[in-house]
């Protein structure tokens, strides 16, 4: 059988799509709308609380998993969509999409480990 990296790419895409589907609506609502608009108290996003969340190993792992998987999901889908939109240079699109997702994932790991 021909070797292919498709299963890995696709399972990351599927895992990210699942994570995004389950947690992003609530996360976007809490951090981007409810707290800034005053529907939830400001201390929801207080420095000490977020520091405690990102400071403990479990919190770090969960945050990294959400960021990494959602980014791969977005990168893979964007790569396919660029092709559908008539950008035919598959190699450039692939490098750009997975490259940005990869660099941002490394940045996430570095930032989380520094907290």
């Amino acid at each position: 059988m021909a070797k292919s990296n498709k299963p890995i790419v696709w399972s990351l895409f599927a895992g990210g799509g699942m994570i995004a589907a389950f947690v992003l609506p609530a996360l976007i609502f809490i951090t981007g709308l409810a707290v800034p608009m005053g529907l939830l108290p400001e201390n929801v996003l207080a420095y000490d609380r977020m520091l405690a969340l990102a400071g403990n190993p479990v919190g770090k792992f969960v945050l990294f998993a959400v960021i990494f998987l959602a980014l791969w999901h977005a990168a893979h889908r964007l790569r396919m969509t660029l092709h559908d939109l008539g950008i035919r240079s598959g190699r450039v699109a692939m490098l750009a999409c997975y490259g940005v997702a990869g660099l941002a994932s490394i940045a996430a790991a570095v930032v989380l480990l520094s907290i």
Binding site: A14, G17, M18, A20, A21, F22, V23, L24, P25, A26, L27, I28, F29, I30, T31, G32, L33, A34, V35, P36, M37, L40, E42, V44, L45, Y47, M50, L51, A54, L63, V66, I67, A70, L71, H73, A74, A75, R77, L78, M80, T81, D84, L85, G86, R88, A104, A107, A108, V111, L112, S114, I115
Partner: protein, 132 residues
């Protein structure tokens, strides 16, 4: 010597706006473009963590900036696209992971509803955690 054969594969030209003509194509493209907002929000999250790592002042400035009308507008759009992603993603689950239990195929609707039920639990859990 005969004619040189062109061995490049034939690629039919498509207008860039092919997905605007038909509803189902537009729906497909909107579904695919949810990834732009999902990606953008993850970058907001990442930037927030970066500011958190820089200390209380930097992080406070980040939280204040979330009140900017443009930030609110972005998050409204991001929420709409994220919800669209959730609905379309759950809608595909019976096709992506058909399930057999005790020799019987579980109906697609049951699989979809199970995802919605879990989604409600997860979302309620996140909101509760935010309040505690």
């Amino acid at each position: 010597m005969g004619e040189v054969m062109d061995r490049r594969p034939y690629v039919r030209q498509m207008p860039k706006s092919w997905w605007l003509g038909q509803r189902r194509y537009t729906f497909y493209m909107v579904r695919e473009l949810t990834c732009v907002f999902i990606g953008a929000y993850v970058f907001v999250l990442l930037f927030g963590l970066f500011r958190l790592s820089q200390g209380p002042d930097a992080y406070g400035a980040f939280v204040d900036a979330l009140q900017n009308p443009f930030a609110i507008m972005f998050h409204l759009l991001a929420l709409a696209f994220a919800l669209f992603h959730t609905v379309t993603w759950f809608g595909l689950t019976p096709k992506a992971m058909p399930l057999r239990l005790g020799g019987k195929t579980v109906s697609g609707m049951a699989i979809i509803l199970a995802h919605y039920a879990l989604w409600l639990v997860v979302s309620a859990g996140l909101l509760l955690m935010a309040r505690v």
